[in-house]
């Protein structure tokens, strides 16, 4: 059974009629790392937003371990959000909390887990993302790369099964991209199931077990990185690959 199964998903932004996702179907196995690539506006980030319930789908289904998510039910959505975690392009840290506060708020306040254990776990996570010495720093005292790594630790603090990464390096200065990618490599080595939206093609090629290319809300090609990058089958994919490889 796939860890995450998306079938015929269609979604439209409120107040518009043009669907941003059209009949998207996708399966991610446990421990698999699937990367979504494609031009801007192709629906990659929207797919992640639908999965975590920030945009309700018009039709189609999402299943986690075979269990259907009902995005109209608060309970079902909460259950899905327990299992999925997302890291955003703009980190979205809570500005009024330290790094430690950002990582521990949800486990302590929402889950009601015990503070000593949560803090020990958070310290371990912050060490894992290379920020063992930044527990007491506020977001505005951290660089973009450090903030993004705190955001990754925060996402992991609720012990999710599937991690969604939405262009997590796009807002960073080039010299800070490496540290965030290194963090993701560590998670990949741990066997975390991940769905990654990224423009870092070298990285995508290196870590992904499968690459999915989207265009205008639909999936146009899917396969192992070598196939999608070196021998794309569809014309649309060939155009996109030739354009990104020229850079």
């Amino acid at each position: 059974m796939p860890h995450l199964a998306v079938a015929d998903l269609t979604a439209t932004y409120p107040g518009t009629d043009k669907p941003v996702l059209r009949d998207v179907s996708l399966q991610v196995e446990k421990g698999e790392i699937v990367s979504l690539i494609g031009p801007s506006g192709s629906g990659k980030s929207t797919l992640l937003r639908v999965l975590v319930g920030l945009l309700p789908p018009n039709s189609g289904s999402v299943r986690i371990d075979g269990e259907a998510v009902d995005y109209t039910s608060r309970r079902s959505l909460k259950n899905a959000r327990d299992r999925l975690a997302i890291v955003f392009q703009q980190y979205n840290l809570f500005q009024n909390m330290t790094a430690m506060g950002n990582v521990t708020i949800a486990p302590i306040r929402i889950k009601g887990w015990r503070r000593p254990e949560v803090e020990a776990d958070a310290a371990r996570l912050l060490a894992k993302v290379g920020l063992a010495d930044k527990h007491a720093s506020y977001p505005d005292q951290l660089s973009g790369g450090q903030q993004q790594r705190v955001a990754i630790a925060r996402a992991l603090a609720l012990k999710p099964e599937i991690l969604l990464l939405d262009e997590v390096t796009s807002a960073l200065d080039p010299e800070l991209v490496g540290e965030v990618l290194d963090t993701i490599r560590v998670l990949a080595a741990d066997g975390m199931t991940m769905l990654i939206v990224s423009h870092e093609m070298g990285f995508v090629r290196e870590v992904s077990s499968r690459v999915v290319m989207m265009d205008q809300g639909s999936i146009v090609e899917t396969g192992p990185p070598a196939q999608v990058f070196d021998a794309p089958e569809t014309l649309r994919a060939r155009e996109f690959v030739s354009r990104i490889l020229r850079h």
């Binding site: 959000r81 979205n92 809570f94 500005q95 009024n96 708020i105 306040r109 929402i110």
Partner: protein, 224 residues
Amino acid sequence: MTYTFQWGEALKHLPYLLEGAWLSLILAFLGFWGGALIGLFGAVGKVYGGRLIYRIVDLYVVFFTNTPALVQIFFLFYALPEVGILLPPFTAVLIGLILNSGAYLTEIQRAGFISVRQTEIEAAEVLGMSLAQIVRYVIVPHIAKTLFAPLSSFYIWLVLGTSMASIFGVEELTGRAINISTTNFRTIEIFSVTALIYIAITILASAVLALIGRYAFRVRAKIF
């Protein structure tokens, strides 16, 4: 000028006046926090409540920000007994101040709600926070930090506004100053001392607020 100052006449009443100042501070404190609580619900209602709730809150805000606080308190004190609700002066003044500051603080806090980055709220939402938790852990601390200056000045304004209570016989600072000056007729001395006490307590209140802001909300506020 033929007037001879007799400062001793004023200064011998200093302890009596200071007790009144304490009452002024208590009135302002309760008025502020009562108003802040109403303002919080008002702001949530206006931002998340839908059209009907928005209208109701807006009506309240428009009414209380477009009529003088003094008129509102008069209404509470003199009109309500007609329908059988007899409020003691302190209570009438306090309710008036709370309702009045609630209207202003609704608008101030609404500005704070709107200024929270939408992305921070989304992050809280996907972590599984309910609206109440988002307000408690993300929005209110943000408001406290970004709106610290307007909230502090509102608090000072409220401290001074408590002088209205004297009209209804509450013996706060101004009320006590009136009491003394109507018996010894040293009005200039009494009110000079009273003004100095107001200055002292507002400086004190500003300093306390700045300290709270600096240590609780990381606001870069000057203490003096």
